[in-house]
């Protein structure tokens, strides 16, 4: 569990023409199978960092990059986005911008990336069937992706990314545009994938969710790395509010209980333990 799969070393980036850097001096590593979250206010550089992890920086966006990203010990600079796609995959916010716009059906959409890589049709069909089942879209496999709901399209986008068989998934606010039900469906899938050993790096605004899922959290503010630690440590630290981090209600409740001497140990970050803690406190 402790082998590093991704390593970021003193990474900085400035877009061409931009006055200030999108982020600077970022260093962290992610372990194999970890659920790693990145949080921070809008404009703090989270999305740009995600782009740098998957190789879109420096290969797609124009600008200046300093520092390195290693995936399985290989420097991304010496690779290409297409090669990286079978090691690290990205899913971002707008589902409809993650379609290739070349497919008349969901299965063609899923297969598109494989086609570009010249994977034989037999293999393609096998992988499409497998991924469709995993993403729970096997019932809409013959539908036109453009006629699906946002939640369904996002699952198709997940499938198209995952079909390249990456070991790491980078999720950049991938449920922001979905309704609660659609988001839940996506997160069920993400949790399953993570259980099966896929490393997940996630950016999200819902701190309850981040607290629940994350093994570790990286906090960004104005492009700077502020902290990197477990959810309990991050949210249990009162200074975090100053870094524009929303604290989950569970944590606030625990802290109030702590103030009254009714709760000991680290803060809780999930619903059930919090309820238990409150019940315990009622008895004291």
């Amino acid at each position: 569990m402790n082998d590093t799969i991704l390593e970021v070393k003193d990474l900085s980036f400035r877009y061409r023409g931009a006055k200030r850097k999108a982020f600077q001096h970022i260093s962290f590593d992610v372990r194999k199978g970890e659920f790693f979250c990145i949080v921070g206010a809008n404009g703090s550089g989270k999305s740009t960092l995600c782009n740098a992890l998957v190789g879109l920086i420096p290969f797609y966006f124009e600008g200046r990059m300093k520092g390195d990203v290693f995936i399985n010990g290989k420097n991304t600079k010496e690779s290409s986005i297409a090669e990286l796609s079978s090691e690290i995959g990205l899913v971002f916010q707008n589902p409809f911008n993650q379609l290739s716009y070349t497919a008349g059906t969901v299965e063609e959409e899923l297969a598109y990336g494989l086609g570009n890589k010249g994977i034989p049709r037999e293999e393609m069909k096998k992988r499409v069937a497998k991924v469709a089942k995993m993403m729970r879209i096997d019932h809409i496999i013959n539908k036109n992706p453009l006629e699906l709901s946002g939640g369904q399209v996002q699952r198709v986008a997940f499938g198209s990314t995952f079909i390249m068989e990456p070991e790491i998934l980078v999720l950049d606010e991938c449920t922001t545009q979905l309704d609660p039900l659609g988001s839940e469906e996506i997160f069920d899938i993400v949790k399953d994938l993570n259980k099966n050993g896929i490393t997940v790096i996630m950016v999200d605004h819902d701190m309850e969710r981040v607290a629940r899922c994350a093994n570790r959290i990286l906090v960004l503010e104005d492009g700077n790395q502020v902290a990197i630690d477990t959810p309990e440590k991050i949210f249990g630290n009162p200074d975090m509010v100053a870094h524009q981090i929303d604290v989950p209600d569970y944590v606030s409740i625990c802290q109030e209980l702590k103030n009254r001497g009714l709760f000991k140990g680290e803060v809780e970050v999930e619903e059930e333990p919090t309820i238990q803690a409150v019940k315990e406190a009622l008895k004291v």
């Binding site: 297409a82 971002f92 379609l99 716009y101 494989l114 570009n116 010249g118 034989p120 499409v128 990314t161």
Partner: protein, 260 residues
């Protein structure tokens, strides 16, 4: 919602035919119609197209399309060329304001005939061919995936943008943009309505580029494969050969008629 193509899925021999054979048909039949000196010939081909439409179970749709195109243009051209063509020598009717000439009418019929062959066969191809399959066939024949992307993406992006346009119309109406009124007030509404489409398209373009890159778009030195199958059957090859033979025969007949 806007339609993205004319394609009507049907179980018919024309639907099963390889798209490349249909492209051969458009060119062979079209060129034959143009070069053969007698206009009647092109109408024979048109009759052939009607039979093909019947086989494809699209006769009603095809007839409607052909008549909607043929009648107005025939009237216009007979008027323009029949009355005013400089080639007119033989007068077949005198309508008072102008004289109707045989050469002009024949020229009009010839143009309309050739156009009908081209348009009719093109229309039949688009109504019987799934665009994804057409592109797959062309990629199989060595066409660049990027070209395939462009054709398919245009067909898919446009309806998406049209839907977007409707939302923008609502959003701008809620800001007081009126789409009624005088010519100038309507023209003034044009930019608030088109502007958001254009501006947000750039963000979309950037993100879609990201998507393509992470899907291995434009990888070099790899022969791409397609999910949709594109294999020529023996019957498709036979059809192609027959079409070429037909064109060669027409050329031969034309040469013979000219010099004999």
């Amino acid at each position: 919602m806007a339609k993205t193509s004319n394609y009507v899925p049907q179980d018919s021999p024309l639907d099963r035919m390889d798209p490349r054979a249909k492209i051969y048909a458009i060119f062979c039949l079209g060129i034959a119609a143009i070069i053969f000196p007698y206009y009647q010939f092109s109408y024979l081909i048109v009759i052939g197209l009607f039979i093909a439409a019947g086989i494809a179970k699209l006769l009603k749709k095809f007839t409607k399309f052909m008549l909607a195109f043929a009648i107005p243009i025939l009237i216009m051209l007979i008027f323009i060329q029949g009355f005013y063509s400089p080639k007119n020598v033989t007068i077949i009717a005198d309508c008072g304001f102008a004289k109707l000439g045989l050469e002009g009418v024949e020229y009009a019929l010839k143009i309309v005939g050739s156009l009908l062959v081209f348009l009719g066969s093109f229309y039949l191809m688009t109504t019987t061919t799934y665009t994804g399959r057409l592109v797959a066939a062309l990629v199989d024949s060595g066409m660049n995936m990027k070209v395939g992307y462009l054709v398919l993406a245009c067909l898919n992006v446009v309806p998406q943008m049209q839907r977007r346009m409707l939302i923008i119309q609502e959003a701008q109406a809620a800001r007081g943009v009126d789409t009624q009124g005088t010519f100038f007030s309507r023209l003034k509404a044009y930019i608030p309505l088109l502007g958001p489409v254009v501006m947000s398209s750039f963000t979309d373009a950037q993100e879609r580029g990201m998507t393509l890159e992470t899907r291995g778009f434009g990888v070099k030195n790899v022969k791409p494969t397609t999910f949709v199958e594109a294999k020529k059957r023996t019957s498709d090859r036979v059809v192609q050969i027959l079409l070429v033979v037909f064109l060669v025969a027409t050329i031969a007949a034309t040469v013979f008629l000219k010099f004999a």
